[in-house]
């Protein structure tokens, strides 16, 4: 096992990794910009190195600075966390070239999944379901009708040269297809002087559902069920839960098995997440994140598996400590992302935290680097805390969420706690009736 791990990240995820390391008896090196000298994980780490000024490009994204810091401290592995360099294949390669272990997947898998077009091709080859489409221009109504049988309805006809919704038509069923096809071509011709169109399945109200993968370098690959991350604002996840209120156990097992098979074909190693859109019983691949995910705690809460620990073990050459048959799901978990932003306007609110008091008690986990007196720097992501709660049922979980949101004190900066408080009492959320568009509509309808 490693003696000393350098954590090439900041904020709550750096603290999360530090905790896993110390629980494994591994020493930690925190690297930080000048803006983060007083950060909690820096204070708790066994060693810390200032690697640059506040701008990320000169500190948390500076490959030479981070590798130099690992060299001078004698770290034998680097954990990239999430964001920053965590999906940078060049960084992963350079780390390994310097004789330091990169705690993550093989660089070629990072590169493959980082290229979204290549990733979609790979997903199809690996047997992951992708949105069915025409795979190229469709030149006639007849061809459109022939292809539609495989694509399925509702179906979207899009201008190949298009953008901004122009030259885009939805056909609800076969009867509506010919006219929609003609209209889309006409609009495309008028708008882009190019009447080439292609077709794909139209997803009107999909959910965002992702599958957590865990793999060692020895061919052992398991999935840890799904997370529902449909509550999004501007493609940023706001609240995640597991299991998804929309799936039954069979669906979960099936998509999990499909994901595991794909990862076995790929020869994947480390943690990873395969993201899908889900609508009416079908999954469609979006992308794969070849790293730890912000919302990993909800999976940890329902499975009892420590993903960061397993990730570190796998990087050190150990085998997984769990087999697929060991993984049992217990209860329900939710994570609120608490951002240093005004809860209605989402204006960032960096600054000094005057009072801080995290909720405690049964079934509660808080991952946060905040403390009273800490100053949230203005240079980085606004995520400052993750409140994760567990309950034996989804209803228990929501009640616990409300109770903990009542208790959470973060004074001095604006946070999104009031938004989560409102979400937690909203019927559509309570019933699990939401999709990826729901939260934006909910926000638009909020008063105050």
């Amino acid at each position: 096992m490693f003696e000393k791990i350098l954590i090439a990240n900041r904020g709550e995820i750096a603290l999360r990794i530090h905790r896993a390391c110390h629980e494994m008896g591994i020493k930690t090196v925190a690297v930080h910009s000048t803006a983060d000298a007083e950060a909690m994980h820096v204070r708790l780490a066994d060693e810390s190195v200032c690697i640059g000024p506040p701008p990320s490009r000169d500190s948390y994204l500076s490959i030479p600075a981070i590798i130099s810091a690992a060299t001078i401290t004698g770290a034998d592995a680097i954990h990239p966390g999430v964001g920053f360099l965590s999906e940078n294949a060049t960084f992963a390669s350079m780390v390994e070239e310097h004789g330091i272990t990169f705690i993550g997947p093989k660089p070629q898998h990072i590169a493959l999944m980082g290229d979204k077009v290549a990733a979609r091709g790979a997903a199809r080859e690996l047997g992951l379901p992708v949105v069915p489409g025409s795979d190229g221009a469709v030149s006639s109504e007849k061809e459109a009708l022939a292809l539609s049988a495989n694509i399925g309805f509702p179906l979207l006809i899009k201008a190949a040269a298009g953008g901004g919704g122009r030259g885009m038509k939805i056909a609800a069923d076969e009867a509506a297809l010919p006219e929609a096809f003609r209209m889309a071509r006409n609009e495309a011709r008028a708008a882009f002087d190019n009447d080439q169109v292609y077709m794909e399945r139209y997803l009107g109200q999909p959910r965002h559902i992702e599958v957590q993968i865990l793999a060692d370098g020895h061919g052992n690959i398991v999935h840890l069920g799904e997370r529902d991350c449909s509550l999004q604002r501007r493609h940023q996840k706001v609240l995640e839960e597991a299991p998804s209120p929309a799936l039954n156990d069979t669906q979960c097992d099936e998509i999990g098995r499909t994901a595991v098979e794909a990862m076995k074909k790929l020869g994947y190693r480390s943690v990873g997440t395969i993201e899908f859109l889900y609508e009416e019983g079908e999954f469609f691949f979006i992308e794969m994140n070849t790293r730890l995910q912000v919302e990993h705690p909800v999976t940890e809460m329902i499975t009892g598996v420590d993903l960061v620990r397993e990730q570190i073990r796998a990087a050190a050459g150990s085998t997984l400590s769990v087999a697929q048959e060991d993984i049992a799901y217990m209860g329900h978990a939710m994570e609120c992302r608490i951002n240093a932003e005004h809860w209605r306007t989402f204006v960032p609110s960096p600054g000094r935290v005057k009072a801080y008091h995290a909720p405690g008690g049964v079934g509660v986990r808080v991952d946060s680097g905040l403390y009273a007196g800490y100053s949230v720097p203005p240079h980085y992501d606004s995520l400052v805390a993750k409140l994760v709660v567990h309950g034996l049922t989804r209803e228990d979980c929501i009640m616990r969420l409300r109770r903990t949101l009542e208790e959470y004190v973060i004074d001095g900066i604006e946070t999104t706690i009031p938004l989560h408080q409102r979400l937690a009492v909203t019927p559509a959320f309570m019933n699990g009736h939401y999709n990826i568009h729901w939260l934006e509509k909910f926000l638009a309808g909020l008063e105050g």
Partner: protein, 158 residues
């Protein structure tokens, strides 16, 4: 400027100065303009705190000295030590061109602007650190082969 006996305070100006202090991690700003003088200062160790903001006392002491250095003013504020030339990168510092050679500079030397003070090795590349100004070497704060952080004070040239 003076309005009768009342002290004429430009609140905006002070506020702007306070912001400057904060943003730059300074400990003091003093401005004199003829009769007028404005001075803002902060105590060194607690630069960014009003006191209640004092970082929590950890239940366990940091295990290693580097951790303390990491939160020291030197790391947090490159300008911490007046007239010190600070490290522009993380790496290993060498005070002489080769093992056994005389050092680039020693205390009392006169240096030109642009003259090499030390070398910093990062990623197996040797980077010359030129003096930002002409002056006298007052102090060499690092040992040969010592690891240095970004912003760490290396040589005092005044």
């Amino acid at each position: 400027m003076a309005l009768g006996n009342k002290l004429d305070i430009d609140e905006k100006q002070v506020r702007r100065l306070a912001d400057l202090l904060n943003e730059n991690g300074l400990t003091e700003i003093e401005i004199e303009d003829g009769e007028r003088r404005v001075k803002l200062s902060r105590q060194n160790g607690t630069v960014s705190h009003t006191g209640f903001a004092a970082p929590p006392v950890l239940a366990s002491e940091p295990a290693v000295v580097v951790a303390v250095e990491g939160t020291s003013p030197a790391a947090a504020e490159p300008e911490g030590i007046a007239d010190a030339v600070t490290s522009p990168m993380v790496g290993t510092v060498y005070i002489a061109p080769e093992p056994g050679s005389p050092p680039f500079v020693k205390v009392g030397d006169q240096v030109r602007g642009g003259q090499t003070l030390v070398i910093i090795e990062a990623m197996k590349v040797m980077n010359n650190l030129p003096s930002p100004r002409a002056g006298t070497v007052k102090e060499v704060l690092v040992r040969d082969g010592q690891p240095v952080e970004y912003g760490e004070a290396l040589v005092v040239v005044a």
